[in-house]
């Protein structure tokens, strides 16, 4: 029994760390889907794009992948603003978000993936950094730095966003646009501009999320799709747009997935996220912290 207690402890701890990383992957969707009501199913594709940029910076210039992703933040922010502009002009303004807006993001997901396949092929790519490999040990519990660093980076990023949302004018305006667009307009603030900034931020998080993804596991263009079920399950369970809820839900999923992988085999992990999503939608669509 001692052996399996060991396994259990390690599965829970690395599940928590994995969950921190899932929070980084989800936080962009918590902004776009949770706050702005934009069903950006292409978000995982932007994350994979971030992974490849970190990969190029790492292999060609020997740069740290996470540092590279921070440098790439402004580019992702502008990309997000551009995508929102097209989305707004072509769909939101015409009131055609549901069918054609979804198809638009699906098309973006697909185009990004196929382009990455054409440029980089379908081989798995990985990066090199000093924290990939070693682990910290506390008794029987092992903390791989490969998971610990992404988790810390994720928490710093989400904490920073939380402070930005709570303390700055733009941040408060974003929270306001999530609640009532008309009221914002009556305050003489332009909801479209605020949403463009917010969507830019949501895509910017994909840069960092992509870098921590390629630190955690080797990346090939199609693995983004494995994350769609996860990110939306976490976003909904976390209460759609609550940052604290996103972190808690992400860690819960991380633990459940890791336990499944430890005791039933890793090939079942994708099914866990889907089960999570379906149960969430069927039982508690308002999320654990739902209003």
């Amino acid at each position: 029994m001692e052996m399996s207690l060991d396994l259990l402890g390690n599965a829970i701890v690395s599940g928590l760390l994995l969950g921190g990383f899932y929070a980084a992957v989800t936080i962009g969707v918590s902004i776009s889907f949770g706050m702005l009501d934009i069903v950006n199913i292409a978000h995982p594709a932007f994350i994979i794009l971030g992974s490849y940029i970190a990969y190029i910076a790492n292999t060609s210039f020997g740069m740290d992948p996470i540092l590279a992703s921070v440098i790439a933040l402004p580019a992702f922010y502008l990309l997000g603003m551009g995508v929102y502009q097209v989305y707004h002009l072509a769909f939101e303004r015409r009131g055609e978000e549901s069918l054609r807006g979804l198809a638009f993001f699906f098309g973006l997901l697909f185009i990004t993936e196929v382009t990455l396949v054409l440029v980089f092929g379908v081989d798995y790519r990985l990066v090199d950094a000093p924290y990939i490999g070693p682990s910290l040990h506390f008794g029987d519990i092992e903390l791989p730095l490969r998971l610990l660093v992404p988790c810390l980076v994720a928490l710093v990023m989400i904490g920073g966003l939380q402070i930005f949302m709570a303390r700055t004018f733009i941040g408060r305006a974003i929270l306001a646009v999530a609640q009532d667009q008309l009221a914002l307009r009556l305050m003489a603030a332009n909801p479209t501009r605020i949403k463009r900034i917010a969507f830019g931020l949501s895509i910017a998080t994909a840069s960092v999320a992509g870098a921590v993804l390629i630190v955690i596991q080797p990346v090939e263009p199609s693995i983004g799709r494995d994350y769609i079920g996860r990110v939306f399950a976490i976003c909904v369970l976390g209460g759609m747009g609550s940052f604290a809820g996103t972190v808690v839900a992400a860690m819960a999923l991380g633990i459940v997935e890791n336990l499944t992988a430890t005791f039933y085999g890793p090939s079942w992990a994708p099914a866990v996220a889907f089960g999570f999503l379906l149960v969430t939608l069927a039982v508690r669509p308002a999320g654990i912290f739902g209003r």
């Binding site: 889907f33 069918l99 054609r100 699906f106 098309g107 799709r225 079942w268 669509p285």
Partner: protein
């Protein structure tokens, strides 16, 4: 034109297509034609839910592959003829559609779409872990030596079976469009809250559309193992089905049964040509770009460009 006359016309067109393919007398025509027909069935099936009720299904590949894998199971356990296997595959996919719909269709439409995206990943995981159907290694299917119809090759037989399915799916789609059911679907698409308030049983109609659409996708997938003779999860769940299932109706036009057919013939033929002349990854990129281009520039698809999309105003 009433329903019976339309079916007769469809059968005449189908017979003419088969006759023309026979007259060309080249096996490649049947190989390529089968794929285009399969896409007509898939696109029309997608449109029953997507075009008529406005609910987007991204899981075409899952429903399609479920039909294909049902055939693999039946092939190993029984010696049923293909036309019997197809409805069974349809039932399996239909039940999965019903289940997914039951859990998610009560919520906003986007949740259903997200669930179908995740469904594709999960069904693929299940099949990959299921050794009986070959798991990740895939399954070999040996075609029967003879076809039930004398004098034609097996590929011609598959072509004919798929042609028959296309007639059934298109006739059903058109019948729905012109029935009370179709008007019910249209009210959901145009304003679901108003429909619900006026007493339209929206959940029941949505479940019906999801089940029917999923079932037809499963039927379209059922002959696949005999067509490819080797089926593995990567090819059965190919992203090509998911993206074409969405792109073809939207490019053709979702408001009428004709739209998905136009989209499927256009994109299906284009891909057949591009696969041979350029590369298969690049032709998927073309489909993706056309999808995004059409939803931005021509929201009513090719039908809309010719002014035929306005028929929905009457519905």
């Amino acid at each position: 034109m009433n329903g019976a006359k339309f079916v007769v016309l469809l059968l005449i067109v189908a017979a003419a297509v088969f006759g023309a393919a026979l007259a060309i007398g080249n096996a490649y025509v049947f190989f390529a034609g089968y794929v285009v027909l399969q896409y007509i069935a898939l696109a029309t099936a997608w449109n029953i839910l997507g075009g008529y009720t406005g609910y987007v299904n991204f899981g075409t590949a899952a429903f399609f592959a479920l039909g294909a894998y049902t055939t693999v199971v039946l092939h190993k356990l029984t010696s049923l003829p293909l036309p019997i296997m197809m409805p069974i595959g349809g039932i399996v996919s239909g039940i999965v559609g019903l289940g997914t719909g039951y859990l998610t269709l009560r919520l906003r439409g986007s949740f259903f779409s997200i669930a179908t995206l995740a469904l594709a990943v999960v069904v693929q995981t299940l099949i990959t872990n299921w050794d009986f159907v070959g798991g990740s290694r895939g399954a070999y299917i040996i075609r029967p030596m003879t076809t039930p119809l004398l004098g034609i090759d097996y590929i011609q037989y598959l072509f004919l079976v798929m042609l028959g399915l296309v007639v059934i799916v298109v006739a059903t789609a058109r019948a729905i469009e012109r029935s009370r059911l179709g008007y019910g679907f249209a009210t959901i698409r145009d304003d679901e809250v108003a429909a619900e308030a006026s007493g339209v049983p929206t959940l029941r109609l949505k479940l019906l559309a999801t089940t029917l659409s999923g079932a037809f996708m499963g039927m379209a997938g059922a002959p696949l193992p005999y067509y490819v003779t080797y089926l593995d999860p990567a090819s059965g769940f190919s992203l090509a089905y998911a993206v074409n299932g969405v792109a073809m109706p939207l490019v053709g036009g979702t408001s009428s049964w004709l739209g998905p057919i136009i989209g499927a013939i256009l994109l299906g033929t284009l891909q057949q040509v591009a696969t041979v002349t350029i590369s298969s990854a690049l032709n998927l990129l073309i489909v993706g770009l056309m999808l995004v281009g059409f939803v931005i520039v021509a929201p009513n698809g090719i039908l809309g460009l010719f002014g035929l999309g306005a028929r929905r105003a009457r519905a």
